[in-house]
Amino acid sequence: MNSVLKLVAQRIALGLLLLLAVSILIFFGIEALPGDAAQAMLGQSATPEALANLRHQMGLDQPELPRYFHWLGGLLTGDLGKSLTNGEDIAAAIGNRLGNTLFLAFWAAIFAVPLAILLGLLAARHAGKWQDKLISGVTLATISLPEFVAGYLVMYFLAVYWRVFPSMAMIFPGMSLWTKLNTIALPVIVLVMVVLAHMMRMTRAAILNVMQSAYIETAELKGLGPLAVVWRHAFPNAIAPVVNVVMLNLAYLVVGVVVVEVVFVYPGMGQFLVDHVAKRDLPVVQACGMIFAAVYIGLNILADVISILANPRLRHPK
């Protein structure tokens, strides 16, 4: 078990190092963008004098390196600073939006992951038959629809035509959990449609791959039912690739759903980030970038760790 702990610690350390590298990329990458917050804020009324004043006020006239370390220091102590455009505390503003994003991602995942795996198992069990083709066909069709088209479609039918769910997924503090769930129904449906196929296909492929092994034949020969074979012998050995693709999709649900947010007016991180990029509100953009990077790296570490734990060969390296 010690070696496992060591492995996990190694992964986490590597992840942190990666995060540091990302922070350098984000900071200097954004600095390299043309224009700055002062210019974006003044917009039409930017006179050279006003620009210089505002830049000084925002500390944008300082050299880059000290600003980077100052920013990194703040990041480590949890102080993300204040937004340049509206003076709000970034940590508080992001906290709210991040909470919303995670809420939506969580509920989408709750439906999508078990459904995808179940459908994958079913498809593998009936590989090549009509059930398999139906499942694959439908899920591939839903993934092929651009998100906004899927969004408008479900909006038209479920919100405007039949009026089952509200068209806007605007949640705010003070709503009961049930109201919130009802409100986010449409984006959850769309997100499930988008991520389902990927995970389903991977589950199906991994299971089919394992099913050709000798030990599956043994299990069949000793008289186990087909579902039991899949569940007890095939699935544990297929976990590693499935977990990887599940984590990738979870990461996508957190960082990549800006289109769905816009269509359903969901107050998540995506729209928040886009607004602040347009206004060159660098501290906010940098903070969002770091959070997204951390989510991606964190989920990938988790996937690695689960794969290692699920695979005895990786658990006991020679």
Binding site: G35, R97, D275
Partner: protein, 529 residues
């Protein structure tokens, strides 16, 4: 009244039918115009305000970066939000007249250099404090400070001295300005306790609603302020503004009943929405306009013959029809239309004339190299398509117009006011002087056509202090002529505000001053029982 007549009158009162259409259709039923007018009045009056309920507006034009600081309001949502919790000294009503809000009376010295505002007594801020003349002066002072980055800096700059005595605020100007009270209706100049110096974004004002939730770019919630001074407005118990930037999402929200009104109906879907039960489309002819601007100090646009060639080479009516879906009116190459007071409607309308355009083009001696028009989709809605129409009509006159597409991102800092020929837009201003002073005075920061004309400046300054309305109108007419014939601005069209409103909403009327009844739809409308 026959059922059909009654139906027609109601439809018109709801804004589904124009007045002219109503009179036309009733005369088909054998009713005289006078009787039809009287019936219309009774249908409109029949609606009594209903108290209570929650009124929601879905709006485009809000970002997560918005703030409640009135000095920084620049887009539609912050504007409407501020109009809900805050008030100005005066407002400009739908007829273009001044009506009193936090000021009770306005008077001036004969030369219009000194203005006195009598401040309304017994008005309280949402924090319970009484609004005083000192608060008014502190507010105006804050906007004169460059650090406040106020959008009203240009307005308050001309005030040399401000004084508060008792309930009287006295403003002394550097030079006479007959329009000063209109300028005080500017949406940045919301009176805040202590001028809002300590916390400009506190969102505390004297308006009918106090802020309960402020989530920029998402939702702004308000509840009725019990101590509000004017019982004639502020009917709903709660109001909210939801930021819905996506056109389809906004429309769907209205159709599914989640909001009661929306701004910016896409001209492409107006006809479709008209057929939806429970929704009415309202349009108001505003002062906002779309422009193509040429720098009068840069080649080849320094040559007025070339500018004239381009002005004759644009099909205005076609743009109104195709870009605005008919919801607008044609421009005449100066930034003023009939929605402004003292507008001179005798100025001849410039039409598309390929022969004249070709003649001016030849006279300009341009070498035939492409004339580059820089444009981004965000310059105004439909800007790319408008530029393409312009290109086609110019080509027909033999003018080699070339379109260069620019990204939206950074357009206002990198292209507008920098490139010699580009697309842009202007929201209107309440009075002519403000529009001309903002963008066409030689010394204006926003002189985006680089128009330097001494005589123009002199007439503009003189008109400002002129209290004789007839003389003033003549002066503004002269300014319009100068710009139309020598200026760098091409004004193909004035855009209407096109809005969609649920039939559950009562009290709606058209207001040319701004979107959603100049930002006050939530304050002035009510939810029908």
């Amino acid at each position: 009244m026959s059922n059909e007549l009654k139906y027609l009158a109601e439809q018109t009162a709801k804004g589904r039918m124009s007045r002219r259409e109503f009179v036309g259709r009733t005369s088909a039923l054998g009713v005289s115009a006078a009787l039809a007018g009287a019936m219309l009045g009774s249908a409109a009056r029949a609606e009594e305000p209903v108290k209570g309920g929650k009124l929601s507006a879905g709006m485009q034009g809000g970002e997560s970066t918005n703030t409640l600081d009135p000095a920084l309001a620049a887009s539609e949502v912050p504007f409407a939000v501020n109009m809900t919790w805050g008030e100005t000294l005066v407002e400009v009503n739908e007829k273009g007249e001044l009506s009193m809000r936090l000021a009770e009376e306005v008077s001036s010295s004969p030369d219009a250099t000194q203005w006195k505002f009598k401040i309304r007594q017994g008005v309280t801020f949402h924090n319970g404090a009484t609004m005083t003349a000192e608060d008014v002066v502190a507010t105006l002072k804050r906007h004169t400070d460059e650090k406040s980055q106020s959008g009203a800096l240009g307005i308050v700059q001309g005030i040399a001295d401000m004084k508060a005595e008792g309930d009287m605020v006295t403003l002394t100007l550097t030079s006479g300005n007959a329009d000063l009270p209109f300028l005080m209706a500017d949406y940045h100049l919301i009176i805040q306790p202590g001028g809002g110096v300590d916390n400009p974004a506190a969102g505390i004002g004297t308006g009918p609603y106090s802020v309960t939730e402020n989530q920029p770019g998402v939702r702004h919630g308000f509840t009725r302020y019990a101590g509000y001074w004017d019982p004639s407005i502020g009917h709903a118990d709660e109001v909210e503004i939801l930021v819905i930037n996506d056109n389809t999402a906004r429309t769907a929200a209205l159709q599914s009943g989640q909001i009661h009104m929306m701004n910016r109906v896409d001209p492409k879907i107006v006809e479709l929405l008209k057929g939806v039960p429970g929704i009415s489309i309202h349009s108001a002819a505003g002062r906002g306009h779309y422009v193509f601007i040429m720098h009068c100090d840069k080649e080849p646009f320094a040559n007025n013959d070339l500018r004239m060639a381009l002005k004759y080479a644009i099909k205005r009516q076609e743009m109104v029809d195709k870009i605005l879906g008919g919801y607008g009116s044609i421009g005449n190459d100066f930034p003023i239309n009939a929605a402004y007071p003292l507008f001179d409607d005798t100025i001849p309308q410039r039409e598309y004339d390929a022969a004249k355009a070709a003649e001016y083009y030849k006279k300009s001696g341009h070498d035939g190299s492409p004339i580059v028009l820089q444009v981004a989709a965000g310059a105004f809605p439909g800007a790319i398509e408008a530029a393409q129409l312009f290109q086609q009509s110019a080509q027909a006159a033999g003018i080699p117009l070339e379109i260069k597409r620019e990204p939206d991102d950074g357009y206002w800092s990198n292209v507008w006011n920098v490139a010699p020929f580009c697309a842009s837009y202007w929201g209107g201003r309440p009075v002519q002087d403000q529009m001309y002073s903002t963008a066409y005075l030689s010394t204006a920061d926003w002189n985006d056509t680089k128009f330097y004309d001494k005589h123009f400046d002199e007439v503009l300054i003189a008109a400002r202090a002129e209290l004789d309305q007839t003389k003033r109108k003549a002066m503004y007419s002269e300014l319009a002529h100068i710009l139309r014939d020598t200026g760098g601005v091409i004004v193909p069209m004035f855009n209407d505000w096109v809005e969609a409103v649920s039939d559950k909403v009562g009290g709606w009327f058209a207001d040319p001053n701004g979107e959603l009844m100049d930002g006050k739809a939530l304050v002035k409308c009510w939810l029908k029982a």
